[in-house]
Symmetry: C2
Subunit: 248 residues, 2 copies
DNA sequence: CAGTATTTGTTCGTATGTATA
DNA sequence: GTATACATACGAACAAATACT
């Protein structure tokens, strides 16, 4: 018995494992396997898809890293929740690997999104949102110059804004656009140049604008804040990171 | 307070394969393995990381799907280019699996990004960009009511705008935010209600605004265009897709 | 609280397909 | 055309974690 493939081009995507990945993804995309669906056990699924268990496991592992599947040892393999927060989590890992000028590209995109998110947060002026922002702002003040605490409070502060519009995709993307490594680098830079008070002031302005429900002001304050960081980062990108562009 | 993250309640990340994934990713993130680096052959790398060849293959396959590694049979395994267009390609596959209200979330985010991209395109008023837009606009007109051709021209048209700002992250994200399935659905809807001329007119307005270098107009025309589609999609989301929101 | 069945995790050995010199 | 180096694939066996009775 010759398992002749459907004469696909020798491009990307040949091989039984790659086929299995596609087939499983199609089953999920078509809705046949909805969120939480339990997959057949590896032995059966392998037989069903016509490949060995080892090869199938490669497919499952790949889809597991992509957060499409969720594998629980001793239990079984399930389709994930398929929520934006889940499916876009790998995007965060991806942006973590970007370097050089592409880090600035992250900031440029963030600059296009987060001011809008802050404006929406101000429009609702939700009491919980305001309280959460206040908490992180206080944490930021109490943190002194401890970088790790500052980074955490900063991340939490911006995440409150990111989730205020109630859009899971927006929240996940904003998360991906400000990686922890860059955030850490920024706060160390802020501390080194003694600009902690300015940084806290910028956050306070955003907080105040949202607290009083001023959307325009929230948008402006957020934009200014992001550009402050973007500018500093642009000037302090190590020359090693400054990869020369070769024409496309 | 913060939900997920931090706490290791569910032991995600145990196991030799998961460890290998993390180790390889760290080597790439640290820059030790830069773009294009050739990895040791599977046998050696497995020995080096202290796991079997099969388990290592699972790790490599997963990172290959994530576009961090690139495997070439008979040759070897290499670190990818690590460019945004490469690393953010899985994000497109991810958004392809979103359904129901989360599809509208994609549109909301796109609405925050693409008008800005169109404005930037207008600011430059690059001759090549204008010509490329014209080409796709003509294609869209010549396509009649053939949906596949319309979808392709439409995708190409918006991609010209997406890449005009010269930001790879922005381009990749805009690509991810408008999936081919939704695009196909939209054009079929447009054809069904006999709104092909309106759709072409909206594209023509965007084209004209960019061609004359009017950034404000380009921004407005793009926003209107996206909202047209967003509104239609909101009204035509199958009731089955209309998942009830439970408060979080 | 056992003990047992079920399911994924991991390894080894071996054979085959593919690109390159 | 041949040799070599490498990834691809399979099957079987045992370990570890979980579920169930």
């Amino acid at each position: 018995m010759d398992q002749e493939t459907t004469s696909t081009a020798r491009r990307r995507g040949t091989g039984v494992t790659e086929d299995a990945i596609e087939q499983i993804r199609d089953l999920v995309a078509s809705g046949e396997w909805g969120p939480g669906t339990r997959l057949p056990r590896e032995t059966d699924l392998a037989k069903q898809l016509g490949l060995s268990r080892n090869s199938l496991r490669e497919a499952v592992r790949a889809l597991s890293l992509a957060r499409v599947l969720e594998v629980r040892q001793g239990d079984g393999t399930y389709v994930s929740s398929l929520e934006p927060g889940e499916l876009l989590e790998p995007t965060l890992s991806a942006t973590h690997l970007l370097r050089g000028r592409t880090v600035l590209e992250l900031f440029e995109v963030r600059r296009m999104l987060e001011p809008g998110a802050a404006a929406m947060a101000a429009l609702r002026a939700d009491a919980e949102v305001i309280a959460a922002l206040r908490t992180e702002l206080d944490r930021m003040i109490a943190a002194g110059n401890r970088a790790d605490e500052l980074v955490q409070a900063d991340a939490a502060f911006h995440d409150v804004i990111a989730r205020a519009p109630g859009n899971g995709v927006l929240r996940a993307l904003l998360r991906s656009l400000s990686t922890s490594t860059v955030r850490a680098r920024l706060w160390h830079g802020i501390a080194d140049r003694g600009a902690l008070d300015l940084a806290r002031e910028e956050h306070a302005r955003i907080y105040n604008a949202i607290a009083v429900g001023d959307a325009d002001l929230a948008r402006a304050a957020t934009l200014l804040h992001i550009v402050t960081n973007e500018t500093w980062l642009r000037e302090h990108l190590g020359p090693a990171d400054d990869v020369p562009l070769d024409g496309d």
